[in-house]
């Protein structure tokens, strides 16, 4: 569904991603793990159109058509069925939970579809339904993260990309959020997950890539990498 070839991202003179290639099959959970500054976020931001990369990103939509994503604007990606839940959640603090969610469906014109997606988002995260008229800024960290994921789901994406969904969350909430990610995957949606919390990410991933200073140094199934000595030593605390 997503074929990334020789992707590199530059910020001025700094080369954050140095020509990585990876492929994602429909229905998989794929994770990119790595330390701070490894280029994980840059890679996912390139797919979302937030930064202009070099190389090629070919996306196969649900009708089987291949589309080159490099050079497309972020809003075009959403229409193609790619949604990003950005790093740091990016909840709009002055808007209510429901208004935040409805903005997630900005690209959809059909009110009935929007209402359906809203019900679905509430079904995934019942807590958000309880908090629907509270403003985003008054939510706890865990609730904000749920809102960020739910908001990305509002455009009914085929490919859901999550940038550091565990950031700043207590372990019990990390479990909760990752359980929901698995649920979303079971609906048939493909997931690209960028994580520092390698243990949590590898446990649910079908396929995983390890990124180190802009290069992919290891790849394999989530299970393989969990048992890989190098990964255990570097990311899982031995």
């Amino acid at each position: 569904m997503l074929e990334i070839k020789d992707l590199s991202v530059w910020y001025g003179g700094i080369n954050a991603v140095k020509g990585i290639s990876l492929s994602i099959k429909r229905g998989e959970i794929v994770t990119l793990i790595g330390a701070n500054g490894a280029g994980k976020s840059s890679a996912i931001r390139a797919v979302a159109g937030l930064v202009k990369p070099r190389g090629s990103i070919v996306y196969t939509d649900k009708d089987g058509k291949d589309i080159e994503l490099v050079g497309k604007a972020p809003e075009a990606m959403v229409k193609l069925g790619i949604a990003l839940s950005p790093e740091g959640r990016k909840i709009l603090p002055h808007l209510t939970v429901e208004e935040n969610l409805l903005l997630g469906a900005y690209t959809l014109d059909d009110r009935a579809v929007v209402a359906e997606n809203l019900e679905h988002a509430y079904a995934l995260f019942p807590r958000l339904k309880e908090r629907r008229s509270q403003t985003g800024g008054t939510l706890s960290g865990g609730e904000q993260q749920m809102l960020a994921v739910a908001r990305a789901m509002m455009s009914n994406p085929d490919l859901l990309m999550l940038d550091e969904p565990s950031l700043g969350l207590a372990p019990i909430l990390v479990d909760e959020v990752f359980k929901r990610i698995t649920d979303i995957n079971k609906e048939g949606r493909t997931i690209l997950l960028v994580e520092q919390n390698a243990f949590a990410a590898l446990r649910i991933a079908h396929k995983a890539y390890v990124l180190e200073v802009g290069n992919i140094t290891l790849e394999g199934t989530g299970h393989d990498l969990l048992n890989n000595d190098k990964v255990r030593e570097a990311y899982l605390g031995g």
Partner: protein, 355 residues
């Protein structure tokens, strides 16, 4: 009590319509019943509210720091004035250069000129915004300030169209109290509807978090250009009304100080609050008039202080600094007036009185 939500909306609507009728009756009476000076200040409040609201749409609601509003006001004022002056007046007034022949016989009713003023200011706003909105923050302020000055200098020098530095005189005084407040009411209605719609939330999203807006599929640049253009429309209409109130316009009216007083209205009232801009317009307009006494010569006992022109602006600057230090969000912050808020407040006060 125990009124249902439907009853409350009905009640609020009745209250709104009722107070509008009372206010309109007051204006109708005030037009003849109070002296001309006070009528003019009441009128100026409405026009400043229109201008403040349109700047608030750009700065407060869409988060674009613009210092160019005086320029768009100038466009509106000139468009409206040229459209409603009679050919005879034009022939008599253009003495430096003869008026451009295609403009001489153009004449339209006041309301048409008002819409044309807004529309042409909006076209200029749209054209200007496309390059400058690529800038952010303070740079945007500097660029829009530059454009505002360019517009003013073009008006000073395009004598065949604008009569240059001499300005335009004898503009028919169409901006009656009912006219100014009527335009304000229409604008308020549109702004409230706009900000309560999904588009209002889209604007807030673009202002608060550009990345969040983009990943939700919002074309942030397009939304900014649209908000800027709409704000310039309001600026043009406000400028046109201003010209019709004062009945003479010249390029010096539209200097940066004009933008500053609008900025004061928006900041004191509260960035992003419609109610705030109206309150700000009332306060700033009346204070600017009331403070004139500090510019008169003052005698305290045997001490004689000669009048210092511009003294009220000094006091105003100090007030603005105080607002920025002690109440940065302005009077209203981002809150809005509502009947529910007002009545609940009263209920609480009554309960306290009863104790």
């Amino acid at each position: 009590m125990g009124a249902s939500a439907g009853d409350k909306t009905l009640r609020n609507r009745a209250l709104t319509i009722g107070s509008l009728i009372v206010f309109a009756a007051f204006l109708w009476w005030a037009e003849e019943g109070v002296d001309a000076y006070k009528v003019r200040i009441i009128n100026l409040i409405a026009i400043n509210a229109i201008l403040g609201l349109s700047l608030n749409l750009i700065y407060g609601m869409a988060g674009m720091f613009s210092l160019g509003h005086a320029g768009f006001m100038a466009i509106g004022a000139y468009v409206s004035a040229i459209l409603i002056l009679s050919p005879d007046q034009k022939l008599a007034m253009w003495i430096l250069d003869p008026i451009a022949p295609w403009l001489l016989d153009v004449q339209s009713p006041f309301l048409v000129s008002l819409i044309a003023a807004g529309a042409i200011a909006a076209v200029f706003g749209c054209i200007v915004s496309i390059p400058v909105l690529r800038l952010g923050g303070d740079y945007l302020g500097i660029a829009t300030l530059g454009f505002s000055e360019i517009i003013r200098i073009l008006i000073t020098n395009f004598t065949p169209i604008t009569n240059g530095p001499l300005g335009l005189k004898g503009i028919p005084p169409h901006a009656s109290l009912l006219m100014s407040y009527g335009v304000l009411a229409v604008l308020l209605f549109c702004m409230v509807r706009l900000m309560n719609s999904n588009f209002g939330n889209v604007l807030r999203a673009v202002r608060d978090d550009e990345i969040a807006a983009k990943v939700m599929g919002i074309d942030t640049f397009k939304i900014r250009v649209l908000a800027f253009t709409l704000g310039c429309f309001g600026g043009g209409v406000g400028g046109a009304l201003m010209g019709n109130l004062i009945t003479t316009i010249d390029p010096k009216m539209f200097m940066i100080t004009q933008t500053y007083s609008l900025l004061m209205i928006v900041v004191i009232g509260g960035l992003g609050s419609i109610t705030g801009s109206v309150i700000g317009a009332v306060l700033v307009t009346t204070m600017l008039e009331w403070l004139r006494f500090v510019e008169d010569p003052i005698t305290i006992g045997s001490l004689y202080i000669p009048g210092i022109p511009g003294m009220r602006m000094v006091i105003f600057s100090m007030l603005l600094i105080a607002v920025i230090i002690f109440r940065r969000e302005g009077i209203m912050g981002m809150r809005e007036f509502s009947w529910g808020w007002l009545l609940r407040d009263n209920a609480r006060v009554n309960a306290n009185d009863a104790k």
